[in-house]
């Protein structure tokens, strides 16, 4: 056994005005796992304005430090400014591994960070295994058809973690010191100007964070039906909604709902697919769910091959009955 050089991990938190995005806790969970296995330590970096709610939410997870870069110029995440700050902090504190939960936030920013640090990067990592002084990372490729074991050369390693593959960190108590980072406003690149950000209003949980996800596919004919059937069932279950790519392409659902290879990866306790055939690209984003239910008129639909419970039937008939009976109970 070679001697292990303990890593210094830096977790990039994702926060919004109203607080921490919960997917961050999967990255914290991964970092803590690696730190514990190697005798290393992890720090967390929170960027934005205001950040207090996110900083408070990150207390108690065992971070060696919570670095805070707060400046009004950083209120909205832009890849160039955020990458600039992350690179500064990583260099200043000698971070050897940078990680974040895979999301559009980290996918936008971390590759830019990796390039500025001349570091290799891996996306959507599902396992990190220390091997001597190095690591083997598992990640999925080819729409979830292949798991690759990958090594990463170089003194600094950058990776995003698939939130569904790591349990969210649990609080272990203790306070992490909060360390303010001085932001040199004049040095920010400011090459990206954000005009407006429109959150898709749903009033429903995010599919990556929900215990139950109800998802709709090709059998749903229009947006009103999607809302009535998929949204209606989700609401009686307190669930998030999701969509196959077919409905996004048809303009029936927004891309933010897309689950699959090119959308979100989810692994809820219960996944209910309504009128989803189960193309491999969709399965890539949900097949790690604990219990899968499929309702589809086509008894040959591939989704039945991975579903724990399959019901052959027309979603337009079955789902209203299901909603009605759930409401009664």
């Amino acid at each position: 056994m070679t001697h292990m050089t303990p890593p210094k991990l830096l977790v990039i938190a994702e926060s919004e005005r109203d607080g921490l995005k919960l997917v961050t806790l999967a990255a914290v969970g991964c970092a803590r796992q690696v730190a514990e296995a190697t005798g290393g330590r992890f720090d967390i970096l929170v960027i934005g304005a205001p950040v207090q709610a996110a900083v408070d939410a990150l207390q108690g997870y065992g971070a060696a430090n919570i670095f805070v870069a707060e400046a009004k110029e950083l209120a909205v995440p832009t890849a160039d400014n955020y990458a600039h700050v992350i690179v500064d902090v990583a260099r200043m504190h000698g971070a050897t591994m940078l990680t974040a939960a895979a999301s559009t936030f980290s996918k936008d920013i971390l590759p830019r960070v990796a390039a500025l640090l001349d570091a290799g990067m891996l996306s959507d990592v599902t396992a990190v295994v220390p091997v001597g002084d190095e690591y083997t990372f598992d990640r999925v490729m080819y729409a979830g058809n292949v798991i690759a074991a990958v090594t990463l050369d170089g003194p600094v390693k950058v990776f995003t973690v698939r939130a569904s593959a790591f349990p969210a960190a649990e609080k272990s108590g203790g306070q992490s010191p909060v360390v303010p980072i001085a932001v040199d406003r004049a040095s920010l690149p400011n090459r990206i100007e954000t005009h407006d950000r429109v959150a898709t209003p749903s009033g429903r949980p995010d599919a990556t964070e929900a215990r139950v996800v109800v998802s709709g596919g090709r059998a749903i004919k229009n947006a009103a039906d999607f809302e009535r059937l998929v949204g209606g069932l989700a609401d009686v279950l307190g669930a998030a909604v999701g969509s196959s790519r077919a409905l996004v392409d048809a303009g029936i659902t927004p891309n933010t709902l897309q689950i699959g290879q090119t959308g979100k990866a989810v692994a809820p306790e219960l996944y209910i697919g309504l009128g989803i055939s189960g193309a491999i690209q969709h399965l890539a984003g949900m097949k790690d769910s604990k219990v899968i239910v499929a309702i589809n008129q086509d008894s040959e639909a591939p989704i039945f091959e991975i579903a724990d419970y399959g019901l052959v039937g027309d979603v337009y008939a079955v789902v209203p009955e299901l909603i009605g009976k759930l409401k009664l109970s």
């Binding site: 996306s123 990958v150 891309n255 219990v291 019901l311």
Partner: protein, 251 residues
């Protein structure tokens, strides 16, 4: 205006991917290849910009062995003006590819680099962002709308994020990566294929670019994910509810 569009050769999305028994690579026998679908969306958007404003030169680039000529010819047949193949045989990763592209941007001086947000083989979603970082230019990723007012030197983009939509403006040159809903790429016509044969396709050896493209990532083994087997079929909503309550205990 000059637009650079990288085209990656990837297995057709409808191809069944199999891992070789020794875990060293995927089985390539009988695999059909295509232009990465997100890259085709990027090229389509470049073609539309040309149709709107006239004076746009579109350069398509691929990096790999001679077989990538096939994807470049497809790009030319769609309507690109010229093609460049960077000959390279061996391991690569996103950072190495971004470094090659950065060197080509320095040589070709495009106003816009339009790329797919991810390749559907390794699903990394990194190269565009890395390229923007190396060049020190603005980036707009995962876009579903692109507007460039003639002569403005700026691109306004609608980005698709996990929580909704975001509109950003970047000064040109910039790197823009495409999401699904930006457009639907046109089909190649027989006329397009005829015309493509007369368009220039230049080849350059990657080693001659003077760029360090050693891959920092090394795939050591490929495996198939654990399969999931089919469970039971239920006949009625009542039976489904009973199973979910009493057997799976998830509702």
């Amino acid at each position: 205006m000059k637009i650079l569009v990288p085209l990656k050769r990837v297995p057709d999305p409808d191809t069944k991917i199999r891992v070789r028994a020794d875990g060293s690579a995927i089985e390539t026998d009988g695999v059909k290849y295509t232009v990465n679908p997100f890259d085709a969306i990027a090229l389509e958007e470049a073609l539309r910009l040309r149709e709107q404003s006239g004076t746009v030169e579109i350069l398509v680039i691929s990096i790999g062995t001679a077989v990538c000529q096939e994807q470049l010819r497809a790009g030319l047949a769609m309507g690109a003006d010229r093609a460049l193949l960077i000959r390279h045989d061996g391991e690569t990763d996103s950072l190495g590819i971004a470094k090659i592209l950065a060197e080509l941007v320095r040589r070709e001086r495009p106003d816009l680099i339009l790329m797919g947000k991810q390749a559907i083989d390794d699903d990394s979603n990194q190269t565009g962002q890395m390229l923007a970082g190396l060049l020190g230019v603005g980036q707009a990723t995962f876009i579903s709308r692109l507007t460039i007012a003639p002569g403005s030197g700026r691109a306004t983009c609608c980005r698709e994020t996990d929580s909704g939509l975001e509109t950003v403006t970047v000064s040109l040159p910039a790197v823009v990566t495409t999401d699904l809903r930006l457009n639907e790429p046109r089909y190649v016509t027989a006329l397009g294929i005829m015309k493509a044969k007369k368009k220039p396709l230049e080849e350059i050896d990657a080693a001659s670019l003077g760029v360090d493209i050693r891959s920092r990532t090394h795939v050591t083994r490929l495996t198939r994910p654990k399969g999931r087997s089919a469970g039971v079929r239920v006949r009625t909503v009542d039976e489904l509810l009973q199973k979910l309550r009493e057997e799976a205990r998830v509702i």
